[in-house]
Symmetry: C2
């Protein structure tokens, strides 16, 4: 089995309310070999797309996207959830509502690090309702750059994120697609469904 899915099954935990806890290898403790595997996988899926930059959002997106950027040999830029003190006002921003934290963050990328010629791969650890993903795409498009697609480590396929991104015309590549977290059990979307989707 794919090492990511194995890690989810063996080390993940399903909490109440449809929360998948992956603190053992992705969100708090990080398994570096798994990150390299994930980085190679994203790079392979987007290798024909002339990616010039990878973007993600702090903090849990940084590790998998760094390894993907390394494989693609392009820089990584991570959006900040809070404007840092050393940022000037020359920034692209987008408002992202977080359901889990029940707060709106203004995510920010400096204008220096995106330009109209960029082909951007957007990577994140989770895709659920799609708010963060759409916020990142909004930032890329403010720069006049092209969103080549999304690379998602874990997709909650029972939420509307993928549908929203596909409706907006984006390519979505998710390495693990979860059909259900009911009864405290992880059920992956079947591979046949995966191929036809």
């Amino acid at each position: 089995m794919d090492p990511l899915k194995t890690a989810i099954l063996e080390k993940g935990a399903v909490l109440s309310g449809g929360v998948l806890k992956v603190d053992h290898f992705l969100n708090h403790q990080i398994d570096t070999d798994l990150m390299i595997h994930i980085g190679k996988e994203f790079a392979a899926r987007y290798k024909e797309c002339n990616i010039t930059r990878v973007i993600t959002i702090e903090s849990s997106g940084i590790a998998p996207s760094l390894m993907a950027a390394n494989e693609l040999d392009v820089p990584l830029v991570f959006a900040r959830k809070k404007k840092s003190l050393t940022m000037t006002n020359d920034v692209y921003t987008s408002s992202v509502y977080s359901f889990t934290k029940q707060e709106t963050n203004t995510i920010t990328i400096s204008k220096s690090f995106l330009n109209a010629e960029d082909h951007v791969l957007i990577i994140d650890d989770f895709l659920a309702n799609g708010k963060a993903a759409l916020g990142l795409a909004h930032i890329v498009e403010q720069a006049g750059a092209k969103v080549a697609g999304f690379g998602i480590v874990i997709e909650k396929s029972f939420q509307e994120g993928r549908a929203k991104l596909e409706e907006a015309g984006y390519r979505v590549e998710s390495l693990a697609r979860i059909q259900s977290l009911q009864h405290e059990k992880v059920t992956f979307l079947e591979e046949t469904v995966l191929q036809n989707s």
Copy 2:
């Protein structure tokens, strides 16, 4: 010249108030080749120390420490500045005051990811006043684990951080030591001083 120092001189910017902006390669956009270089350097300096875990603090510490953890073939754990929703109450915490942000963060690591047998390398992007570094060491020691030492990407040697860490008995390895940011110019500590310090 060392690629990190070259990047600081060529791509860094000195802002008023002694702030060094390294958004082009470390804190916002990330140069993956440079991160690999940094990771190898930390791993080389601590290769005899039986490191079992690398820890850092979100967000800017994640990229360099991931590459160091990969070289040392151990897991990385990043402390959170804000307790995440999926964290239980089984955590180690420490209060860290940030001068630049003028706020106190409670940094947190789950008890699952540190144990008394660990030999921990603590990595951060900057060392200035040492508050964050001491907070991380405090967490490691709550677990009964050993702090093998610190790996710092950029040390502001004109601030008291290194002295505080050394007084507390810790080994500090900084890849770039900055003597001064006066007159909007980066001056590195001379190598002879480095070797005797």
